[in-house]
Amino acid sequence: MDAGAFGLYICLFIALYFEVFLLISFFEKKPAKKNSELPAHYPSVSMLVPCYNEERTLGKTIESLLALQYPQDKLNIVVIDDGSQDNTATIGREYAQTYPGRVSFLQKENGGKYTALNLGINQSRGEIIGCLDADSFAAPDALLEAVKHFESDRSIMAITPAMKVYRPRKLLELMQSVEYTFGIFYKKMFDNLSAINVLPGPFSLYKREVFRRIGMFRHAHNTEDMEIAFRMHQHGLRIVNAHTAFVYTTVPQTVRALLKQRTRWSQGFLQNARDYRHMFFNRRYGNFGTLILPFALASFLAGIYAALYAAYRITSAAVARVSDIVATGIPPHLPAHAELSWFYLNTTMMTFVVAAVLAMTFVAIVLGSRIAEARLSVKSFAAYFAFFGLLAPLWLIRAAWGALLARQSAWR
């Protein structure tokens, strides 16, 4: 076995170990089904909607918040325009005028999403601060489902939802719908391990005291939602996942937009991981420090390694083939007596290990779809397994390069 293949086995071992670990966690503590119980107490909630050039989706986002099943006097929607250049401000202002007392509108010069969020926190009064990106829409019962968690345990300081893709139709959206379902499984298992690593922009909820105790949102390499999760773990503040609180988010529809978004996330992870490197393998931070952070970084590096190794093998085989054709003078042709037999199948150990990793991934996605009551089509699975492995290395490599050069990635 050559050194390159040995490295690939190590990557596969890491991937498989992580998947097995999470599956064990799932069977230890299966997620509870949604029930019809209502909270005994309704805390006041300020839902912040930071936006920058979101005229296309902002109205629908606000409508979804207005439709939340929650006492009207306990819910205040705060739209914060971060210096948009389109009609975002007009739309936000119109809603504030149409729903006075329920919708507030704030406007500021462009300063980044974290500054918009911080303004919203300072200008609102809710006991619970919710955030909803202006390209996402909450399910009507999402807030009720989330608030029940705060009520069930006073030590819970923040809640993440179950994120689904909004009306996936194109191939790239279908691919991401499977990826998000996979993420629902991951998020719930991270919850079982008390190690949720990000509080996503779409519909994360915080107790106001979180910001009193650990400070406000930071720039954090344009991934303030990740950094605040890191900081909460650093201060021992508990984050849980409300897997029955559904939020639908629009996803990039072009490869270019997807690469840009994922590069920002991945580069943000690398840079935040560097800022919080003291948490790695530190038992004081529980599973977050000993398992999730090291495995996330290892997966990142393994993804790049596997992609580069595969690219090297494919390229060198292709170059050798072309050079053989030129040297031998043999015209392109099919083998005259191609034998259809199992004998010629690739049955190396690598094949079976890769099959095991893919099978575990499939199981995790199916479990994720059950947790989130999501239905995935065969086409979605096909899109995911066909394209994700080809696209992910691109943003991983770009992010690693960007982090090395400490480039700032754009919010939009």
Binding site: F13, L16, Y17, V20, F21, I24, S25, E28, N287, L291, D324, A327, T328, G329, I330, H333, L334, P335, A336, H337, E339, F343, Y344, T347, T348, M349, T351, F352, V353, A356
Partner: protein, 224 residues
């Protein structure tokens, strides 16, 4: 409890790897058994033909000319051996043993064909004895193999016998000696019918010039 989970996950992961290793090995063992069974069948066929030849003193020449004897089986064996060699490694004892058996079958087939061609004037096959090396000292051997495979597929009447020059087999050493193949002149080397050995890589066009007899052979329509 938490520590236990880390260990259990490790054990399960290691067990999956071990299972993958076991299945891959079992399939390789089945491949070896498959090759051995085919070789035994070919061996019986050759023995039967030799016996028939001895008993009758001659065979129905038209039958031989129309149906290339054992050619398909030997070609198929060559392909399978190559897969086994790739999976198990060229130094694997099973692979070496199979290659020796295969080489012996090739030599026997070659000798038999020569004898038949002498007895049957109309049966004029073209032989190529091809000598290659797998020791990493013959960068052109793979390409030469590709050219010969293509020629064999194009001209079903062409009989290509491939031998690993370094295989430790006395019959092969005798063949190498009798055909005066000298390694120092550089592999790959090949002998066309009874001509002098040719050394070094030759591309398709060069081979077609080197073997004018190819023009007398029928071609497959699929590859032309």
């Amino acid at each position: 409890m938490q520590g236990q989970k880390y260990v259990v996950a490790f054990v399960i992961t290691a067990a999956i790897f071990a299972t993958a290793f076991y299945i891959a090995n079992r399939l390789d063992a089945r491949r070896v058994a498959d090759i051995r069974a085919t070789q035994e069948a070919v061996s019986i066929d050759i023995l039967s033909l030799e016996t028939q030849f001895d008993l009758l003193g001659s065979l129905e020449c038209s039958t031989i000319a129309d149906n290339p004897i054992l050619s398909e089986e030997l070609n198929s064996l060559a392909g399978r051996l190559s897969v086994a060699e790739e999976n198990l490694g060229q130094g694997n004892a099973e692979v070496v043993s199979l290659k020796k058996q295969y080489s012996l079958l090739e030599i026997k087939d070659y000798l038999l064909m020569r004898e038949i061609s002498q007895k049957c004037p109309k049966f004029k096959p073209v032989y190529i004895l091809y000598f290659y090396s797998n020791n990493g000292d013959c960068p052109d051997c793979g390409r030469m193999g590709d050219v010969l495979t293509y020629l064999r597929e194009t001209y079903p009447g062409l009989r290509v016998y491939s031998f690993d020059y370094h295989l430790d087999l006395s019959a092969l050493r005798t063949l190498v000696g009798s055909r005066k193949i000298i390694e120092t002149k550089g592999l790959p080397a090949f002998v066309v019918n009874n001509k002098a050995p040719v050394y070094g890589f030759k591309n398709l066009q060069e081979m077609q010039v080197l073997i004018p007899e190819l023009k007398t052979l029928a071609t497959t329509t699929a590859t032309q």
